[in-house]
């Protein structure tokens, strides 16, 4: 456990620059975007006012400037997309950097007097915690933007919205913050499962190289089949499960895949990857 924590902290600190840059970039791009969008909105308001259009007329033409609408602008969405792409890339890079770097660092890691799965879990939770950290910071940024908007836009041209409303209706928000706590666990554990499958695919390739790519493809297909088997069953039989049943089946399949990925990864790391 101690070694796992040390490895986790080590891996996390290795990603420190990338992680903090992503948080910083998100806030900067979204903040700058908010500034530009609001300036552009205000200049339109000024123009219409000069033309003698009433407040009501301006609102009917331009609508309100509010946080919910802002979440649909590219300024807001782009950094989120960037974060997703960066973390997906790093999920692969986190393994290959140890093999393909100047010094084959993986050998030093594999020779540590600890279970090799500690390396696997350290890398896994580095990515997972980075995702949670980025989403959490986005939540705080939403509060900052909510506080900023009335300072830039006068009261008559904006409308007060709760963060819960923005999360429920805003772009991408429902994927980052599932509506209820049980579905938060369901969604994020599904994400963790996908990451585990991805790590297993990488370990297949690292273990068997070209042949490993074929094996990894097969494993990916098998995983998809296992996970979506309740859905395939429903489509095939045209029998619909009750929601609780759907939830249960997908959870069971997720747990099965997690267990299978851990077993296969353990086997590959301890038996097939040699120093």
């Amino acid at each position: 456990m101690n070694i796992f924590l040390k490895l986790l902290a080590f891996e996390f600190n290795r990603f420190k620059k990338g992680y903090l840059s992503l948080i910083g970039l998100t806030f900067t791009i979204q903040g700058v975007g908010l500034f530009f969008q609001s300036r552009s909105y205000l200049s339109k308001v000024e123009m219409l006012k000069e033309e003698g259009v009433s407040t009501q007329g301006i609102l009917s033409q331009l609508g309100h400037f509010d946080l919910l609408n802002y979440t649909y602008s590219l300024w807001f969405v782009a950094p989120i997309m960037l974060g997703i792409v960066a973390l997906l890339f790093y999920s692969v890079f986190i393994w290959y950097r140890d093999w393909l770097g100047k010094n084959t660092f993986i050998y030093r890691l594999l020779l540590l007097p600890a279970k090799r799965m500690s390396i696997y879990f350290a890398k896994l939770f580095t990515i997972f915690l980075s995702v949670l950290g980025l989403v959490s910071s986005q939540y705080l940024f939403l509060h900052v933007y909510k506080w900023l908007i009335p300072l830039i836009i006068s009261e008559e041209f904006t409308q007060v919205q709760s963060i819960a409303q923005v999360i429920e209706q805003g772009a991408f928000m429902v994927f980052l913050f599932p509506k209820t706590l049980p579905f938060f666990f369901f969604a994020y554990l599904t994400g963790l499962m996908v990451l585990m499958v991805l790590f297993t695919l990488i370990l297949f390739e690292r273990s068997f190289h070209l042949k490993g790519i074929l094996l990894a493809t097969g494993y990916a297909g098998l995983s998809l089949f296992i996970y979506f088997s309740p859905a395939i069953y429903q489509l095939y039989t045209r029998i619909i499960f009750a929601n609780s049943e759907t939830f249960l089946w997908f959870s069971i399949m997720g747990i099965v895949l997690m267990g299978l990925s851990i077993l296969v990864s353990n086997f590959l790391l301890t038996k097939k990857i040699t120093v």
Binding site: F12, I240, F241, A242, T246
Partner: protein
């Protein structure tokens, strides 16, 4: 310790942000709405639950098109659409199906989603066309009746005779009145013309089956499509809401069905009545324009109210089902501003109506969905005069509590 700094900071950030968010979501979720109104004497009265007859359609809820029909439903508010629904609507069961599933798993479990289910106070009846046994002279229907109390399941197979040869049959709607099962079926056949062209012919039939004697009591054509077209016409049959709802369920003599029949872009709308006392079907003598959108239809006993929304008020046609004649037409003038509250994309999304003791209650539902005050107008059915015009004020009505299925609770505005 320094090496764990960023890790700890991330965990603290995550726990506080998500904790904050879900704590506030839970707190909102537990706030139930209350409605209040001001009586004619100026006192504020609270309504525990606002009940509205029928479903308030949500534009983005594709499961409104589910075949499931329900009665005796007490669920007042939309259930939360869970994450699975947000992610993928295909594998999400409608709340009404979900409720049946939870209450009667022995019967509802493994039910095919394409089949019709109808709930009565004592039973759940399911009917489906057996495609494999379809013949040109008959259609086979499989029926299952589930007794809620004893949990017995009775299975029936009925071969329904066809007047004209048909290729296949669709079940449009089912209803259960006392022991009678009423089936609306569309039969699709082919007409061969002299020039060699094949076109599709459609007939809408209503069958009445006595589930006790297991006999087909009647088989009557309701609509025959002519001229035949290349594509089958679309028919939609829905049971109209009777005002007294389930209390009168067993004694109900008149059972009204709204039939929409679309053919080559034209919609034929008619209202059919099944008289359970005389085992008689009638298509009511109602003019197309009376039931064209935007109208709403409700009925009580022998009276059918056809409510048409105008720009500045409502036109209410009072129709006698027994005599099959229009009794009177009332004009209810209301200001255009007030009428705005009743404007929905479709009339059924914008308002609900109920009538009792010669009073007609018109309630705006659009405003409930927007979280605004609910407009309520009460009209004297003798004079057409508005006797009460006020609002129901919703408190604690949050996004979590948008009413979907509800009934009207008639409020004593006179105290």
């Amino acid at each position: 310790m320094k090496r764990y700094g960023l890790l700890l900071l991330t965990i603290i950030l995550f726990v506080s942000a998500f904790g904050w968010h879900y704590f506030s979501v839970e707190a909102t979720h537990n706030q139930k709405p209350t409605f209040s109104y001001v009586t004619s004497r100026g006192n504020k009265e609270y309504v525990e639950k606002l009940k509205l007859v029928g479903s308030i359609y949500q534009p983005d809820n594709e499961y409104n098109q589910t075949n499931f029909i329900q009665k005796g439903e007490e669920t007042l508010y939309e259930e939360d659409f869970p994450f699975l629904y947000q992610m993928d609507t295909v594998f999400y069961a409608h709340p009404s199906f979900q409720r049946l599933y939870e209450n009667y798993p022995n019967f509802v479990k493994r039910k095919n989603y394409g089949n019709f289910l109808i709930e009565t106070p004592e039973t759940i009846v399911e009917a489906s066309v057996d495609w494999e046994k379809q013949q040109s002279t008959s259609t086979t229907i499989q029926v299952e009746k589930f007794n809620k109390e004893s949990e017995d399941i009775k299975k029936y197979t009925f071969n329904l005779p066809l007047d004209n040869p048909a290729e296949y049959s669709y079940l449009e709607s089912i209803e259960v009145v006392e022991n009678k099962l009423i089936l609306f079926l569309t039969h699709v056949g082919e007409n061969k013309w002299e020039d060699g062209m094949n076109t599709t012919a459609v007939e809408l039939f209503v069958y009445q089956i006595d589930l006790e004697t297991e006999k087909i009591v009647s088989a009557e054509p309701f609509l025959t499509q002519f001229p035949a077209t290349e594509f089958p016409a679309e028919t939609n049959v829905s049971a109209l809401n009777s005002i007294n709802g389930d209390e009168d369920y067993k004694q109900k003599e008149n059972n009204l069905f709204l039939i929409n029949h679309e053919n080559e872009g034209e919609t034929l709308t008619s209202i059919a009545n099944y008289d359970s006392k005389d085992n008689r079907h009638t298509i009511l003598d109602i003019k197309e324009e009376w039931i064209d959108s935007p109208t709403q239809q409700i009925y009580e006993g022998e009276t059918l109210y056809l409510i048409e929304k105008e720009e500045a008020g409502f036109t209410v046609r009072v129709f006698n089902i027994e005599t099959n004649k229009l009794e009177t037409t009332l004009s209810v003038p209301l200001t255009a501003a007030l009428m705005q509250n009743f404007n929905g994309e479709y009339v059924e999304r914008g308002m609900r109506a109920a009538a009792t003791n010669d009073l007609l209650y018109l309630v705006s539902t659009k405003s409930i969905q927007n979280g605004e005050d609910v407009t309520i107008v009460v009209v004297d059915l003798y004079t057409g005069q508005t006797v009460y015009e006020g609002t129901l004020e919703p408190d604690n009505l949050t996004d979590e509590w948008k009413p979907l299925d509800a009934e009207i609770q008639l409020i004593d505005i006179e105290e």
